[in-house]
């Protein structure tokens, strides 16, 4: 008994190992969307390969769908064609698709857990790097390229080199105003955007044990921003309670058996990791990024550090910021609350609590984009929409939206946006757009105050 959680899940899915080469890993669930799948379907067609296990693939449309008037044909012809191609491909191969207008459509990493597709101890892949989100359930979940999408189509397996193992332990009391997003931004800023290169990370310690499932998803979602292949958290009672009763969750006697298995998914106490970090939860404060990668983050009331590094200087230049300056008080015209990092109902409840009875600042354009149709419905069921509208926030329909600006939801050139998404790369939210990553709570406060504020 000296296995890590990761080892256990990996070994349970190991078909075989190639000498001096990768392992063949069996994949339980394959999630696909319109942008990274068409060329994979083409490969099947060109090479006359049959789709091996269509029942294990689930499709949705999210990356380039509009967030307004989803009942109308998509205006952008290229986007429309991608969605149409996915629809045709799914039909041809008998794949379940949650397309526009379907009550279960949404961002792929939001709908997986929400529908109970994501279950503890699974291997899950998707042609999208933030597949790591599903690691919150003790899954080995990671993003793959389109050739690999085609590999899973053809064999329900992948050739992968087993990554090294890393554990990040955080104990201590978390300040009341600190959110899961702050915790992961803190981790990345401390360890660096390349600290996880070649590793799969397990998060453990009180801080993660006490976290909600939604919070764990936020953390695992961004684990890849430190270079890791993915992140995972051992399933516990909270995980099991979350999974039970969802659309695709196991039921009855199968559920009982599964629960027995899920309970074994823990790192043995004598297991050894290739690398281990321990951070102090008491030290974490609300965070914000100031640069063009998620590791360039600091306490929201901190000052931008100095560095001689050329890439660092290039980043500050792009952001129009200076070292030694504070961000507090900086005027902000755009706020985006959405993306697979923070667009679950819990995030919107937190936002509603902060803005209830207050009006957004006049200069601010505040966008609320639910992660899925189910979340959108819940927002209405809980009357949060009334609060948002009264405060002057605009509620849109589900999709990736301004997270990667493939649809019309773009931040204009040179403008600043406080965003709850996961990437602040140059041009990520639109050409020339400047992104500050922060928690939904911080984003809500910025919208009300019209400036970066505590």
């Amino acid at each position: 008994m000296n296995k890590t959680l990761f080892d256990k899940v990996w070994d349970n899915h190991l078909v075989s190992s190639i000498k001096n080469g990768p392992d063949i890993l069996y994949i339980d669930k394959h999630l696909i969307h319109e942008v990274t799948s068409p060329q994979a379907f083409d490969i099947l067609k060109e090479r006359k390969i049959d789709f091996f296990r269509p029942e294990k693939t689930i499709a949705t449309v999210d990356h380039n769908v509009p967030t307004l008037n989803q009942h109308l044909p998509i205006k952008d012809l290229l986007s429309r064609n991608q969605v149409k191609t996915l629809t045709e491909n799914c039909k041809k191969h008998g794949i379940t698709l949650f397309g526009l207008g379907n009550q279960y459509q949404g961002i792929v990493h939001v709908i997986g857990p929400e529908l109970g597709i994501t279950q503890p101890g699974m291997t899950i892949v998707c042609g999208d790097s933030h597949t790591s989100t599903h690691g919150a359930f003790g899954c080995i979940a990671f993003g793959i390229g389109t050739s690999q999408v085609a590999q899973v189509f053809s064999s329900q397996a992948l050739l992968v080199k087993k990554p090294k193992s890393m554990r990040i332990i955080i104990n201590g009391n978390i300040n009341e105003n600190v959110q899961p997003k702050d915790i992961i931004l803190y981790i990345i800023s401390k360890l660096g955007t390349d600290a996880g290169n070649g590793y799969f990370v397990e998060f453990s310690g009180e801080v993660f044990e006490n976290m909600t499932m939604e919070g764990r998803m936020t953390v695992c979602n961004m684990s890849i921003e430190m270079g890791a292949r993915g992140g995972m958290i051992s399933p516990d009672k909270k995980t099991i309670d979350y999974v039970i009763g969802r659309k695709f969750s196991p039921k009855d006697s199968i559920l009982d058996q599964k629960i027995k298995y899920w309970k074994t998914l823990k790192t043995d106490c004598d297991a050894v990791f290739d690398k281990e970090y321990e951070l102090d939860g008491n030290l974490i404060k609300p965070m914000i990024t100031y640069g063009t990668n998620p590791g360039m983050a600091m306490k929201i009331d901190g000052t931008i550090p100095y560095s001689k590094d050329l890439s660092f200087k290039k980043a500050l230049k792009y952001m129009g910021l200076k070292a030694g300056k504070k961000l507090l008080g900086k005027k902000i015209n755009y706020v985006f609350i959405g993306s697979c990092t923070n667009s679950r109902i819990e995030d919107f409840r937190a936002v509603a609590k902060i803005i209830n009875g207050k009006k957004k600042s006049k200069n601010v354009n505040a966008l609320i984009v639910p992660g899925s149709q189910q979340v959108a419905k819940q927002i209405i069921d809980e009357n949060l929409d009334i609060i948002f509208k009264k405060s002057g926030f605009e509620i849109r329909q589900p999709g990736c939206s301004a997270c990667l600006a493939m649809n019309e939801d773009k931040i204009p050139d040179g403008e600043y946006c406080v965003s709850t998404s996961n990437r602040n790369f140059e041009g990520r939210q639109g050409q020339g757009a400047r992104t500050f990553l922060a928690s939904p709570e911080t984003a809500a406060k910025v919208a009300i105050n019209g400036q970066i504020s505590l």
Binding site: N12, I24, T36, D42, N64, S129, A157, N293
Partner: protein, 196 residues
């Protein structure tokens, strides 16, 4: 896939570190349903000004530098898993990329598209950049069979690492799908045994 052979070529240096896939191919160009034609938008926002005029300062617009080998700063290909980045590089004409570190997913994507990523020590990378700054015409030889990268005029000789499986794939021009298809029987018997 084309078989990978010995390549002798000039090099194109991009010194910037942490080049993410959003820079290699911005998201707005991902709307295609085919693999072709991404090369013209490779490094789009560095290559062109906002009004569409080529940025004369960017290296791909400098006619002096050309070739099948891209030399890039540390941590190349980080960020999104989009394979479009590899397609864009290949379509533009790069068959080899040299850096001191590659992001995991990118490396896999590159290999799956017949691009050879070669990792060299940071000192060597710096040396190559220094050489190219002054002598843009310098050529390098990449010999996959012997796993050698060589710049003869400057005494740079690197034995690079590649796992045997990926090497065989590149040299024979077959890919992971061919291999996995040949393993379907094993996968089927695994499914029968698999409890969870």
């Amino acid at each position: 896939m084309k078989k990978f052979d010995i390549i002798e070529s000039q090099m194109v240096p991009i010194v910037t570190e942490n080049i993410d896939t959003d820079q290699i191919i911005p998201a707005r160009f991902l709307k295609s349903t085919s693999k072709k034609g991404f090369g013209k938008n490779l490094f789009r926002d560095w290559r062109y000004e906002k009004d569409g005029i080529p940025n004369s300062k960017f290296i791909l617009n400098n006619k002096k530098y050309k070739g099948q080998i891209l030399v890039a700063g540390n941590n190349f290909g980080c960020g999104s898993s989009r394979e479009h980045a590899a397609w864009a590089l290949k379509d533009y004409g790069f068959d080899v990329i040299i850096s001191s570190f590659f992001a995991d997913i990118f490396k896999g994507n590159a290999l799956n598209n017949g691009i050879l990523p070669i990792e060299v020590k940071p000192e060597i990378l710096k040396k190559i950049f220094d050489v190219l700054k002054n002598e843009f015409k310098t050529t390098a030889i990449v010999n996959l069979h012997d796993q050698l990268f060589e710049i003869k005029d400057h005494n740079i000789l690197v034995k690079f690492k590649i796992d045997n499986y990926s090497k065989q794939c590149l040299m024979n021009g077959y890919d992971d799908i061919d291999f996995l298809l040949s393993q379907r029987h094993k996968i089927i018997s695994f499914e029968k045994k698999k409890k969870w």
